[in-house]
Symmetry: C6
Subunit: 268 residues, 6 copies
């Protein structure tokens, strides 16, 4: 594979609304090439933040959506059979290490816990990636950085990062934006009026208070944006909210009733 | 593979009897390209609805029946060995993303929970599908949309969608049609007289009341249509009902007796 | 593979002794191409019945003995490596769909529960079989029908068909033939005298009464035929019965003693 | 593979000491081509008996030592890659069905329970073996017979033959020979004097009484023969017995002491 | 693969601060070619020590990051398909044995317990590595040595080295450096002033006291270095400490509060 | 593979200190070609004994370190892809059977219990090895013998040899040498003075008394030799003992203290 660096560059500025000093902290971590872990609940903007930083720093970004079936070879590379025999194909982590990209392992905790040890030599003073199957040791490009995302709400005894992995990262906490900021995000992303956006954010807050009391997670900003999109398209707000804020996140009849009631109260 | 778009087009209007505002809601969601989750029990018409909408919108439809052995590669694609070496074959999700089809993942919860993360980058602002093994990032065609079906009655601790997946979808609830509509459906699909159709629907209602009291699910509209088909073919109604409405759905002698009794009462 | 239809045709009438209206019911179901599930205990004649019907209807019959290691590819097909690269080989289900055979999935519950979803699009109005790995959607031949067998005595929490599968089938119950019919079957199949056949059937009835009281299943008609065959060959009846009716089905010393005693009482 | 029938023929009569009418019963079963299950504890002569019968009947014998990793393909056959592409290789069961051998599946219960369903169509009136992956249905040679061995002492809830498999077999019980016969076997196989053989058999009886009281199984005739062989070689009887009759079968210090004591009492 | 020895040589002296007589002990063990196990918590300098010793002894160093998916073939080698057929590729352990490198199996306990038996013949008087699949027995180069790392805090019933593996190693205990040494390390690695380094070490000590009381492991020296790096870059010390010393290692709100409080107390 | 017999011959006499009549017993077993099981704790000299016997008998020795991932194919052989298609490669067991080697399956209980059934036909009167995948039955060379090692301390319900495997072997018990012999071994292997060797053996005895009281196994003779080697190299005895006799075998602080105390008492 000729790793075409350009295809990994982000050419347009991704919209991102900072909530604190995260941009400066990330920038300092990147200057030191510290590995970074971004922590926070579903749909609070972690991936968007990394895209924004990659754009700001002008670095290519290689994102890998981790999953339980992902093997070390999926990250590192493998031999393919060719007309002329086998040929080595770099995996996304190796490509990133070679071209000096930011490599973003999304939902890393989904990967098999022990597969994640392949990133260890890239995250300490060695900054190398041994391709055992190829007999090559890749030294990371000086601009390479590793970033992982992590949702603390998911962790169980079965699925957690090992301490020996965690202790290789600096970490930034993320959460849903406070109400005033979130109203701005919904308005900016959909062009809906501020009053409606405010009502949607209010419903979001109700749901987030139910977290741990029947809901695994609250309503993400993304779903509020969905609701606003449908309302802009002319869908009646109550129907739009039920379709985007309630039905996707729960099957529990009581929770559904509670949330529907909250929607009625706000929009009724 | 030359992805022949035409073979995925639905050329004849599939019969679909709307039960509420689901057509308008889906249409608005499609205009915004929101991912859609259709929820509801077995055989209530979820797949038929999606076919109907694909026909109405004039979009090709690619359906994938999900199963536990399905890997991410089955969705995304894989390398095949050819006379000239390996050759990449797009999977159905990739084909759909390229040609702008509606991709319908039927019974998605059967797929390994973590395999479903491959759909994440297609369901947020990125609308991309990274083919890690090919070193290519596919940007979805502007007309592409993702739809999944989901049966809340099945979910267990072992098998459920993750919140980070759910929060990427808008959702529509489906259920069996109310009696008057269902009589119409059975009549229309089989040409049976309305009186007989009414009797079948009545038996269906009895069975649905047993849901949770010995039956995992009620009798689907599909089975009522089966019964009507056999009756039209000259099979005695009681025998036809036993064969299509009772024997397939339960092995429990008490439930069999209860349902047989209900059939006798209606047709006896 | 050139699917040679002829090899799947049944050229001689298989002996089958009807026990009720199952032939007419099956015939009507076939005319409507309804999927059929045949239910009943081991060795009561389910497979024989399907062969008989395939012969009667003049349709080719493709039987697949399901097992837990069977993957969807075993049913649907796979790529094989050839001198000229890879070549697609239709699986038995695909062959049946193409040539219009009756496809009989024997002991379907042995297959991985989730593998069985591949039959779904063949069992509703679509009557299609998507070959995802080949990028082809097979439309079933108008004469194609799907039949599965199912032994209710086996089902456990771990192994059962899903409701969404069951609700796609009509179903016929089978059981061991009543005594008079069974005497006829044993006589007809082995040429043994009616008195001896009657004694064997009597032993069979004793064993079937033990079902659930130490025996998982009763003695099948097939084993009674085995006993008659050995007696015809000159083996002493008590030794023949022990070898065919007792030793194969139980290791429990008490049950062995009870059954041996019953044999002594009948033949002693 | 050119299935060389000759290599499966047994040219020299294997020594076998009948214990009852098993030779006549097996012969009658073979004449009817009934599948046979031989049941009994480890090392009591089941495999030897089948070899003896194959020799007596002049049929080739193909033995398969079953194990948990054995797949249906190991029995039936698979495609191999050749200079000219893929080539089908018959498995041992297919070879046996084609050439009319006795196919002996040793310790069949070790094979995955569900893998064993592949033998079903060979064990009823069909006498066929569908090679699904090759698209061929093999009709068994008229002389083909299937035999399985089975150790009732092993069966657990996890590992047992299914009733639908058991009910396809006739069955013969085996056990260790009675003392007088066993003395003859040890003498004949090793040339040791009858007095020493008698002492060894006595120790064997002691151990068999411990079965279920600390020993999973008694001492097999094979181990008695081992002891006699070492004694013939000049090893002191007590040391020979410890090495062959005690150390292999138990790690329990109490059982070791009990058995050593019994040896001392007999040979001391 | 032509095993290029040079790429495994460490050309610059890696910084290492000895804590006791470990250098002399390791050197004596190397002279006798005793296998060495380095034990200790995450990030206390085990890997650095081995690099230092490899540099000091002038031996090439081959490091393998072990993981649960690692098979014996990943260590030993495998056949690859080439234009001219299959070709053997030595694994890293085999390369090390051939060229006389120090082979360092990092976090060996992650590898499947039973996979580790492949190292046994290399760790006793035989000093050989049988390549079963190649039919070759490799005799280790006289300079070859095996080193493994091991974190006692991780071991569970499920994951531990077998005694038969442990008893093949000599072992060195490692722990975090005492405060005075650690201040030196942080100063030397980052150029930060001693006062700030002292404050960081103080926070580290607080966290290490929480080990077993809510924290699985304390804060490693590596994380202290991260904090110092960010402070040097101009990040406010409290923000730098939260990002590097707290957020990566815990999700527990109480522990976070305790550690944040400790940071405030030291830097506030 | 051309099985080069010479590479398996042991050309120099391996040092072995007999503890009883094991040499004579093994020799008699070999003359009768009885399969042998060597039982005993880790590091007591089982492997060394087999090497010694192979040297004494002048037979090639093929050792296989068993592990849980080992399949029957790893023992028996497999097809490899070659420039001219597939080519069969004998596994180590097959090579041994063909050339008349002693095949030593080390730690056989690590192999999957059911994989071990492949050795059955080699361990009874048949002395054959069926290569099912090749369609060949290998008759063992007259000089072939099978030996397995087995550590009774490890056996659990999950991992034990089956009785049907055990009953195919004669067995020899091994244990650590008595003190006087062990002092001789340590002296002979390292050249250390007898007084120091005696002290080391004394520490070993202390540790062996802790077996079952906090230690899974005692200190093996091998570790005593390690300690002596380091002492000979000039390492202070207490440091040498801690590094070789304590740190490798336990992580338990109490046991470490007890053993360190014993070392201090002996060498202090």
């Amino acid at each position: 594979m000729s790793a075409n660096t350009d295809q990994y560059l982000i050419t347009e500025e991704p919209y991102y609304q900072p909530q604190g000093d995260e941009v400066a902290l990330y920038q300092a971590a990147y200057e030191e090439r510290l590995p970074v872990m971004v922590k926070g609940p579903t749909g609070c903007g972690k991936s968007r933040f990394i895209e924004h930083m990659a754009w700001k720093l002008g670095r290519p970004l290689i994102t890998v959506a981790c999953n339980e079936d992902m093997t070390a070879s999926d990250l590192v590379g493998r031999y393919l059979l060719d007309a002329d025999g086998t040929r080595w194909l770099d995996g996304p982590l190796t490509v990133a290490a070679r071209i000096g990209a930011i490599c973003y392992l999304d939902e890393v905790v989904e990967a098999r816990q022990d597969t994640t040890v392949v990133i260890h030599p890239l995250t300490d003073h060695r900054r190398t990636l041994p391709l055992d199957k190829k007999g090559e040791v890749v030294t990371a490009h000086p601009d390479f950085q590793l970033v992982i995302s992590y949702n603390p709400g998911y962790q169980s005894l079965m699925k957690d990062l090992k301490q020996s992995t965690k202790q290789r990262f600096s970490a930034l906490d993320f959460d849903y934006a406070p109400a005033s900021l979130e109203v701005g995000i919904v308005t900016k992303e959909t062009g809906i009026d501020e009053a409606t956006a405010g009502k949607l954010v209010k419903i979001g807050e109700t749901a987030r208070n139910l977290k741990g009391h029947g809901l695994d997670e609250g309503i993400s900003t993304r779903l509020l944006v969905y609701a606003a999109q449908l309302i802009k398209r002319g869908i009646e707000p109550i129907a739009a909210c039920r379709m985007t804020l309630v039905r996707p996140i729960t099957d529990d009849a009581d929770i559904v009733a509670t949330l529907d009631h909250a929607i009625d109260a706000v929009f009724g």
